[in-house]
Subunit: 392 residues, 2 copies
Amino acid sequence: MLNFDFYSPARILFGKDMEKQIGALLKPHASKVLLHYGGGSIKKSGLYNTVTTSLKENGLSYVELGGVVPNPRLSLVHEGIALCKEEKVDLILAVGGGSAIDSAKAIAMGVYYDGDVWEIYEQGKAIEKALPVATILTIPAAGSEASGDSVITNEEKQLKYGYGSPHLRPLLSVMNPELFYTLPKNQIANGVADMMSHVFERYFTNTTHTDLTDGLCETVLKTIIKNAPLVLENPGDYDAWCEVGFGGTVAHNGLVGMGREQDWACHGMEHELSAIYDVAHGAGLAVLTPAWMQYVYKDNVNMFVQFAVNVMGVKGSYRDPDAMIQEAILRLREFFNKMGLPATLGELGIDASQLEVMAKKATGAAFGNEAPIGGLKKLYWQDVLEIYKLAQ
Amino acid sequence: MLNFDFYSPARILFGKDMEKQIGALLKPHASKVLLHYGGGSIKKSGLYNTVTTSLKENGLSYVELGGVVPNPRLSLVHEGIALCKEEKVDLILAVGGGSAIDSAKAIAMGVYYDGDVWEIYEQGKAIEKALPVATILTIPAAGSEASGDSVITNEEKQLKYGYGSPHLRPLLSVMNPELFYTLPKNQIANGVADMMSHVFERYFTNTTHTDLTDGLCETVLKTIIKNAPLVLENPGDYDAWCEVGFGGTVAHNGLVGMGREQDWACHGMEHELSAIYDVAHGAGLAVLTPAWMQYVYKDNVNMFVQFAVNVMGVKGSYRDPDAMIQEAILRLREFFNKMGLPATLGELGIDASQLEVMAKKATGAAFGNEAPIGGLKKLYWQDVLEIYKLAQ
């Protein structure tokens, strides 16, 4: 186990009717709130009404900024920063999925940053301060409700960068699984692929003596693999949603990766797809992850045998580990397929024309400062290109 | 899964040499520190020197109060409160195990309480405020380094009460497994029994649809059961200590019990042993837990079969669940025995004379306001007495 620093202060208020308490929950921390959300779905569902009523009942004033889209845009972040400054907002409430929350975090730190907030993402600048962010989650996927991470797309530059800081950990997050009942099936599936990837990125490691976090990772993965098909089949299955929803939080609040060298190559490779083709993050991950496994597993066969046995339930001859691993990758593909997720770049509408460009961007080679990505196996742009090709 | 409120903000700084950073870690939060510890062991080990040097180097002044004993005493808490007020202390640093930390938490809230801090424990009063507490853990056991709980013994009244509040969650806790190398074997064993009990109290539940937290509980238990004998055998086994140490934190930071009705009967029954006989908490738990299992399992056979299979690795005929459960309880007893823990009240020096008195105190019957304890099975004083008798 490696040394680590674990800090996950976001308070999680979980269960039925929790969103009705939002005003009371925020009252000790705010006087003027920026309500930040996506399209009109929260208005249709009545959630917008519930939230604004609760804010008003608790004497909180608010301004609002809707219009967050998947792969949230820098331009809207700029708008939010200006609005918060102008209106003297002291807390941002994101109502939505990872995109609304990530956008809120960008605004929250942008308010205190003297310059274009994009510089923080581009240069990995340390920040000292951000407005507090609270969330009401409507799409379990990104884990952003407890994480200190934010991913923003610079649509002009076709760049999608992530940034993390303890200052970006939400103050509190409300999760009522009933709010997930109306999600379209493809959003459910994309979310599941994303949260599984958050575990995979931490699970696949060369670090040894990691019994506890191995088991935590495996538990989260098995819980999601068992319950995700249930919610896809019946989006009103409260019990199954509880498992998937809280699983998505635990997948990305930091705990399951403590003391382990982490990987994050699949996320890095996927960001390039989203940046150019604007594909759904989870769909991109579902396509890339099995290809990545196929390309890297020989570098740590034991790790992948453990995955095969403990997560995918493969029984076989340990004298033929390759066969066990192939079976595990096949089962993962079958699971993604059952969830209705794409299996190839072609299904995402991505042809061969930009593969090399994306591979070079993923490792920084495109900008003349290549640094290999990935923990389990270091990947240079040529490796990334091979993985893209395997995913075609 | 039940609704829940998860809040575990304690920052955990884990690994080699972390204690050397304590001054730098506390500097943003304090100017005058109360250094709170137990006997002289931290002076012998050099830890006292490391800590005070680091405080001084970072410009922090400190006063100190040693003398915390296992089952920490109210009288020392009173002394600490007076000292903090007099010296205008703004942060308490507990260096030690659960006793030092629990004592620090009592002082931390006592400073702001207008009256005897014991009233908070006795009457379960809500608190609004406490001094920040930081910890350097030298005994992994109580989980107090991340929890909001404190257990204090009123030696005059022979009462041992626990209290919990989010305000008591430590600001940060340092855990360097190397500091555990010099622990006596009985302290290691007691600590292991305590942390396992923290999971048991959450794991054994009648709440259904708890895949995720079931798995988290089972992972922590299996990790401890695997690694605890390794550290007992070789107290310098860093890797095994990492698993046991961080396992003890995860066992009690709240996560593994979220959304579940919890039990806590064994802790309640054990506190009565400690209050009168001053036995080590973990040793008392090791004696009572198998007896409790024997007494309650028929109320939820499926839960105990799951324990048998998923935690204790029992293979058997599911058509004879009693046999599987008996095998699981036997294996747990054997594990405690291998750890050198006692198996009977007699080994703890407890005879039959006070069993009824303790049973009536445990449920409140002694004070004329009986409320049954335990979540999986409600236990009245007659039940508790039966369990004490089974443990004789």
